[in-house]
Symmetry: C2
C-alpha cells in the first residue's frame, strides 16, 4: 500500500528480497515522536530542562542531533509536549478512578481518598516523569502554552473543589477551602522530592497519612 515505489534501491542488479524496508524517514512518525517525548520527560526530570541538551534527547531516542527538530519546532515545544501529555494522562487517570469508585455513592472523606490515591499514582507511579516535569519546569514555557495547560489543570483541580467544600460544610475540613486546596496539592506534590519507590512507605501508606493529616482520617 505504501511500499511499491522502489526508486531508492541501489542499482546493483539484484532485486530486494523480503518485505521492502521503509526509508528511515518513513518509519511510523507517531512512534518516533512519542519516543522523543518519553526520553525528554526522563531527562528533563533528572537533569532539568536547561541542563538537558537536544542532543541528549535525540540520543535517547536513537536519533542524530538534528533530528528532534523534524518532529518539534524547538526545544520548548518538546517540553510543552511532555507537560501536555502528562496532564492529559492525569485527567484520564482521575476520571477512571472516579468512575471505578462509583464516586457519587461515597461519602466526601472517601471521595477525597480516591482523588489523593489517584494523584499519588500519577505523581509517583511507574513512568511518572511527566507531571513532575510539568510541576517543576513551568518557568520554561511561554504564556500561550501556560494558558493552554491551565485549562487542563482547571479540569483536574475542579474535581477536587466540591469534595473539599462538602468536607468543609460537614466540619471535617477546618481550613478555608481555597487555601486548603493549595496546601493539599503542595503536600502531595512535594512527595516527588523525597519519595523513594524502594524504601519508605507505599502509595497506600501515603494516602492514609495524607487523609489523617487533612481531615483526621476516617473516624
Amino acid at each position: 500500500m505504501e511500499s511499491a515505489s522502489a526508486p531508492r534501491v541501489p542499482a546493483t542488479g539484484r532485486r530486494p528480497r523480503g518485505r521492502p524496508r521503509k526509508t528511515l524517514a518513513q518509519r511510523d512518525d507517531g512512534n518516533r515522536r512519542r519516543a522523543l517525548i518519553r526520553g525528554a520527560a526522563r531527562l528533563f526530570r533528572r537533569k532539568g530542562f536547561d541542563a538537558t541538551s537536544t542532543r541528549d534527547i535525540a540520543a535517547a531516542a536513537g536519533m542524530q542531533s538534528g533530528s528532534p527538530f523534524y518532529h518539534f519546532k524547538n526545544k520548548q515545544a518538546l517540553l510543552f509536549a511532555v507537560m501536555e501529555e502528562g496532564m492529559r494522562h492525569a485527567v484520564e487517570r482521575q476520571q477512571q478512578a472516579v468512575a471505578a469508585a462509583g464516586m457519587e455513592a461515597l461519602d466526601p472523606a472517601d471521595q477525597l481518598r480516591v482523588l489523593v490515591r489517584s494523584h499519588f499514582e500519577v505523581l509517583l507511579g511507574p513512568g511518572s516523569d511527566f507531571i513532575p516535569v510539568m510541576l517543576y519546569e513551568a518557568r520554561s514555557i511561554n504564556a500561550r502554552q501556560r494558558a493552554s495547560l491551565s485549562e487542563l489543570r482547571s479540569t483536574y483541580e475542579g474535581t477536587w473543589v466540591p469534595v473539599l467544600q462538602a468536607l468543609y460544610a460537614s466540619g471535617r475540613l477546618k481550613a478555608d477551602v481555597k487555601l486548603a486546596r493549595l496546601m493539599i496539592f503542595g503536600a502531595l506534590n512535594w512527595s516527588v522530592q523525597w519519595f523513594d519507590r524502594r524504601k519508605e512507605a507505599s502509595l497506600d501508606d501515603l494516602t492514609q497519612a495524607a487523609l489523617a493529616l487533612f481531615i483526621g482520617g476516617n473516624p
Copy 2:
C-alpha cells in the same frame, strides 16, 4: 590604619587630596562577595541555576564577566553559598522566633503556630530568594555540599519533631509523625509557587489555614 601605603598613586607631582581611594581590588571584599550572592539568589530564583549565566550575576553586582571567579571557585560554589546563607538565616530566624515566643510555656498547637509562621516568613518574606533556590535547585550541588547543607537542615527540621510528637501524643495530629512532617513541609514549601505578596492572603492567613488544615485549628 590601612591607607598609608601610597605606591599606586600615579607620579603626577601632585599629592592626592582627601581620603585616599582604595584600588578597586581593595574594596571591601566581604561586601562584593555578598553582592554577588544576593544577585545570584535573585537570578537563580527567577531563571533557574542553569539558565543564569555568570555574566548576568556579574552584571547584577556591577562587575565584569570574569570577576565572580575572583570570589568563587566556580558557578556551583556560588549556588552553594546562596543555599548555605539561606539555611543559616532560616535557622537564625527560627531560633529568634522560638526565643521570642517563650516556646516552653506554650501548648504544642501554639508551638506549631510559631514554627509555621516563622517558616512562611523565611519562605515568602521580603528578600526571600535564598530558601526557594535551595529548595528548587538542590539537583545542581554535589554530594559533599549536599551533606554539608543537610546538617543545617537537620537542625532546622529537628525543632519541629518534638512539637509534632506532642501533637500526635495528645491526639491533635492524627497522621504518622514522619510522614506528617514531610507533608507539612510540602504544603508550606509549595507556597513559593503560588503565593503573591500583592494579592491573596497575608502570612497570618496562611498560618491560620495551615494550622486549621493540619490540626483543626485552635479549638
